[in-house]
C-alpha cells in the first residue's frame, strides 16, 4: 500500500549499486522530488561496495539501493555482503527485468523490497517504508536488549540478595518466586513456596493479637496503594518455629499487574543476641547482688563479733580484777567496777535482743499482736523512759499527737520499739541544749506517720543510704563515739516494713534530722510478712495461689478466703516480687491487684504473661473498679471487685478450672488437685 507521506527535507545517506549513470540520476531525482536531501555514493563493483561499507563507521548508511543485474556484480551479491557483515541495513532491489522469480530470490536473501525500473515513482514510498521499518526494528532491538539486560540484572540481584526475598502477586495472593535465602528461611523448596499465600507461611496470629489473615489484608492493601512501610511480622518455618522479622511489601506494579517484592529481615539472630545480652546482664546483676549479700553477711558477722566482745571485755576484765582480789572490796572503785559490769551486761543484753529481733523479722517469724492503741499514751510512756537522758543534756523534748489518729490498731510493743529507737537516737545525736520533737499525724485516709525531729549534728546526703543498714554506725566526728548497737535503725526499718509500713529520713548537716515511720492505722494479724521465702512448700497436693496484693487488710481477706477453700496462698506485695515468684514455680492461679507500689498493674500483667512456665495459669484481677476493658488485650480469666467476696473469688477460680481439696482430714490427691 502506497502511503502519501512526505519526507520534507529528510536527510538520507544512500549507497547505490548501479552500473548505469542514467538510472542512478533518475533514482536521485525521484528521491529529491520525494523531499529527501540525498547524499549518495555509487558503487559499481564488489570492491567499491566493500570500501563504502568499511567507511560506514564514519558515514552510517541509511539505506542500500541496488540494481539486480550488473556486469560482474549483482543485487544478490550486495544482499549477501550486507548480511554477512551483520549490518542492520535495509536493501531495496531495483531491476530492469522484473519477474516473480528474481523478486522471490531477492526477498529471501533479505531485500526489503523489489522494484521495477519501469516505475520509478514507486521508489519514494518504498524508501519511506524501508526507513520506517528500519527505525522500528532498531527501536525494538534496543528495547529488547535493554529489557533483557534489566531482567538479568534483576534476576541476579533477586537471586543473590543476602536477605530473603519473595515475588508476590498482590492480586492473586500467591507467591510467584522465592530466592535461595527465602527458601532456606522457610525450610521449603522454591517450588513449594510458589503458589502458597503468605498466610500459609505465617502463624495464625501476630503478636499484636490480630489474625495473620487480617493483618495481611491490611498490609497488602497498603502495598496496592503504593505504600511500603516496614512492619514487624512473624513468619513460620516449615518445622513450626516462629520467625520474627521486619518485612516490607513493595509494589512493583509491572505492566499493570500488582506484583510485589517482599523484603524480609530475619530478626532471630539479633533477638538472640539481645536476649543473650539481657540474660548476661541479668546474671551479672544477680552475681553482684549475691557478692554484695555475701560481703554484707561477712561484715555483719565481723561487726557482730566486735560488738559482742566490747562489753564482754569490761564484764570479764573487771570481774577478773575483782575475783583476783586486785580491788579492795570496800573501796569506791570496787563499787564503780561492779556498776561498769552491770552496764556492760545490760548493753550486751540489749544487743542480743536486737539481733534476735532482727533475725526473727528477717525470717518472717516475728509475730505482731495488733490491738487498739492510744498513741498519745504510748509515746508518752516511751518519752518517760528517756526523760532523764534528755534532762541530763538539757534537751527540750516535745510530744504532739494529732487527735485524728490517736486510736489505731497496732502491736503496741513493736511500735514502742520504733518510737524508742527514733527518740533515743535523736537524743544521742543532739548536742546539749538542743530540741527533740516527736509528732504523730495522719497520712492519707488510713495511715499514720510517726516522726522525730532533732536539732542534732545532721547526716551527710551520701550517708543517708547507710542509715537503716545493720552496724552501719556513721562516723560521728573524732570527739566522741556514740554508744549503740548499730542495730536500732535497721531493726526499726524491718519492724515497720513487716507491718506494711515504710521508714525514711531527711536531714541537713548541722541543722538536724527528721526520721519517720509511716504505718497503716489498722494492722491485721496475718502471721506472716511480705518478706516470706520465695518458694513456700505447698501443703500435700493443695494447689497454690499467688496473691499479688500490697494492702495487708486485703491480703488477710485473700488468705482467709483461699485457705478456707483449701488453697495454699503465697503473697507478693510488689510487682517485682510477683515476677520473681512467677518465674520460680508453677501456680494453680493468681490474683492481681492493679495498684501496686512499684509498677503498674498492666505492666505486671504483661510481664507475667510473658513468662512461659505459668503461661496457662489463670489470672484473676481484683480491683476497686472492676472494668474488664482495662485489662483488654491480656489473658485474664476474671475481673472481680474489691473488697474481696470470699465466695465470689472461689467461684471465679472454679470457673477457671481451679479448685482445691477440702484441707485437713481428706487424704491428699495431688493429681486431682493440680489438674481438676
Amino acid at each position: 500500500m502506497v502511503q502519501r507521506e512526505t519526507a520534507a527535507n529528510s536527510p538520507l545517506q544512500l549507497l547505490v549499486a548501479e552500473d548505469s549513470e542514467d538510472d542512478f540520476e533518475i533514482l536521485l531525482r525521484e528521491l529529491r522530488k520525494g523531499g529527501y536531501v540525498v547524499t549518495a555514493q555509487r558503487v559499481k563493483s564488489p570492491a567499491e561496495l566493500d570500501a563504502a561499507l568499511d567507511a560506514s563507521s564514519e558515514r552510517p548508511w541509511d539505506l542500500v539501493i541496488s540494481d539486480w543485474i550488473m556486469p560482474g556484480f549483482g543485487g544478490l551479491q550486495v544482499l549477501e555482503t550486507v548480511s554477512s557483515r551483520g549490518l542492520d541495513l535495509a536493501c531495496i532491489i531495483v531491476s530492469g527485468t522484473p519477474g516473480e522469480e528474481p523478486a522471490v530470490e531477492a526477498l529471501r536473501a533479505g531485500a526489503l523490497d523489489f522494484l521495477s525500473k519501469d516505475r520509478p515513482r514507486r521508489i519514494v514510498p518504498a524508501v519511506q517504508r524501508a526507513l520506517r521499518e528500519a527505525a522500528d526494528r532498531r527501536t525494538r532491538v534496543r528495547v529488547e536488549r535493554e529489557l533483557r539486560f534489566s531482567e538479568e540484572r534483576y534476576r541476579t540481584g533477586f537471586e543473590l540478595a543476602p536477605e530473603p526475598l519473595l515475588a508476590y502477586d498482590l492480586d492473586r495472593r500467591v507467591i510467584l518466586d522465592a530466592n535461595a535465602k527465602a527458601s532456606e528461611l522457610f525450610q521449603r523448596s522454591r517450588a513449594e513456596l510458589r503458589s502458597l499465600d503468605l498466610g500459609a507461611i505465617s502463624p495464625p496470629r501476630q503478636p499484636d493479637g490480630r489474625t495473620s489473615a487480617d493483618a495481611l489484608e491490611h498490609y497488602t492493601g497498603r502495598a496496592r496503594a503504593g505504600e511500603s512501610p516496614l512492619y514487624p511480622w512473624i513468619f513460620q518455618a516449615h518445622d513450626g518455629d516462629p520467625i520474627p522479622t521486619d518485612t516490607r511489601i513493595i509494589n512493583l506494579a509491572t505492566s499493570g499487574r500488582n506484583i510485589a517484592q517482599i523484603n524480609i529481615i530475619d530478626l532471630r539472630e539479633r533477638l538472640r543476641a539481645e536476649e543473650m545480652r539481657r540474660r548476661s546482664a541479668e546474671l551479672e546483676a544477680q552475681n553482684r547482688r549475691i557478692q554484695e549479700a555475701s560481703r554484707l553477711k561477712s561484715e555483719f558477722l565481723a561487726n557482730m563479733s566486735h560488738e559482742l566482745r566490747t562489753p564482754l571485755n569490761a564484764i570479764i576484765g573487771f570481774t577478773e580484777l575483782l575475783h583476783d582480789g586486785q580491788v579492795d572490796p570496800g573501796s569506791p572503785v570496787h563499787h564503780e567496777f561492779l556498776g561498769d559490769i552491770l552496764t556492760s551486761g545490760r548493753h550486751l543484753l540489749q544487743l542480743i535482743n536486737d539481733v534476735l529481733d532482727l533475725a526473727k523479722v528477717e525470717a518472717g517469724k516475728l509475730e505482731f499482736r495488733p490491738e487498739p492503741v492510744e498513741l498519745s499514751k504510748l509515746v508518752g510512756e516511751v518519752a518517760a523512759i528517756l526523760r532523764t537522758t534528755a534532762a541530763q543534756k538539757q534537751i527540750r523534748m516535745t510530744i504532739d499527737v494529732d487527735a485524728r489518729v490517736d486510736t489505731v490498731t497496732i502491736d503496741p510493743g513493736r511500735l514502742k520499739q520504733v518510737a524508742y529507737n527514733y527518740l533515743s537516737n535523736a537524743l544521742k545525736f543532739t548536742p546539749i541544749g538542743g530540741t527533740v520533737a516527736l509528732r504523730v499525724k495522719p497520712e492519707g485516709p488510713d495511715r499514720f506517720r510517726l516522726e522525730v525531729e532533732d536539732s542534732g549534728i545532721g547526716i551527710r546526703p551520701e550517708d543517708l543510704g547507710r542509715l537503716f543498714v545493720e552496724f552501719q554506725q556513721l562516723e560521728a566526728g573524732a570527739a566522741k563515739r556514740h554508744q549503740g548497737t548499730g542495730l536500732g535503725l535497721a531493726l526499726t526499718r524491718r519492724l515497720v516494713e513487716a507491718q506494711g509500713g515504710s521508714v525514711g529520713v531527711r536531714s541537713t548537716v548541722g541543722a538536724g534530722s527528721t526520721f519517720h515511720a509511716s504505718l497503716p492505722c489498722h494492722a491485721i494479724t496475718i502471721g506472716r510478712t511480705p518478706t516470706a521465702p520465695v518458694v513456700a512448700a505447698p501443703r500435700d497436693g493443695a494447689p497454690t495461689v499467688l496473691v499479688v496484693e500490697d494492702d495487708v487488710r486485703d491480703q488477710a481477706q485473700f488468705i482467709a478466703a483461699l485457705e478456707s477453700a483449701g488453697f495454699v496462698v503465697e503473697l507478693a506485695a510488689t510487682g517485682q516480687d510477683a515476677i520473681a515468684r512467677w518465674k520460680a514455680r508453677r501456680y494453680a492461679a493468681a490474683t492481681i491487684d492493679l495498684l501496686l507500689p512499684d509498677m503498674s498493674g498492666l505492666d505486671l500483667l504483661g510481664a507475667l504473661r510473658g513468662i512461659e512456665s505459668n503461661a496457662a495459669t489463670p489470672i484473676i484481677v481484683v480491683t476497686v473498679v472492676p472494668d474488664p476493658k482495662v485489662v483488654a488485650g491480656f489473658t485474664v480469666h476474671d475481673v472481680l471487685p474489691k473488697p474481696v467476696d470470699h465466695e465470689g473469688l472461689i467461684a471465679s477460680l472454679a470457673r477457671a478450672g481451679v479448685t482445691a481439696l477440702p484441707p485437713p482430714l481428706d487424704p491428699p490427691q495431688p493429681s486431682l488437685a493440680e489438674h481438676p
Binding site: 566486735h306 566490747t310 571485755n313 577478773e320 586486785q326 567496777f337 562516723e475 573524732a478
Partner: protein
Amino acid sequence: MTSSSSGPRILIVDDNPTNLKLVAYLMKNHGYTVDTALDAEAAIEAIKATPPQVILMDIQLPGKDGLQLTRQLKADPETAGIVVIAVTAYAMKGDQDKAIAAGCDDYVTKPIDTRALPETIARHLSGQGRHNPDPS
C-alpha cells in the same frame, strides 16, 4: 591523763572509756606509769609530751584508726622503737595479719585476759618479743 607511778611508761589508746578504765587500772596495779588517749590525736600528743615504751592500741577509733596510727609511728624513726600491741575486739580471720602488717609488735583480742596481758607486755619489754603468734 598520767599516773604518778615510777614503772615503765605505757600509753593506752581506746575510744571506749569503760575499757580504757579497766586496762589503765590493771596496768597501774602492775606498776606501770599509765597515759591514756581516746583517739589518735590525743595519742600523738601524749607520745610527743613523753614517749612511752609500750602502746596498747585499740584498732577501731574515731577518725584515724589504730592501724593508721601504728603505721605512722613505725614510719617515724623517733617513735619506731615503741612496742605497739594491738588490743582489739576485731577477732576475725585476717584481723591479726592486718595488725602485724601495719607494724604492731603483737596482737591481743578482747575480751582481754587480765592475767596474761601484763605477762605479754613484760615479755616485750624484756626484748623477748611475741610469744604466742596465734591468739584465739
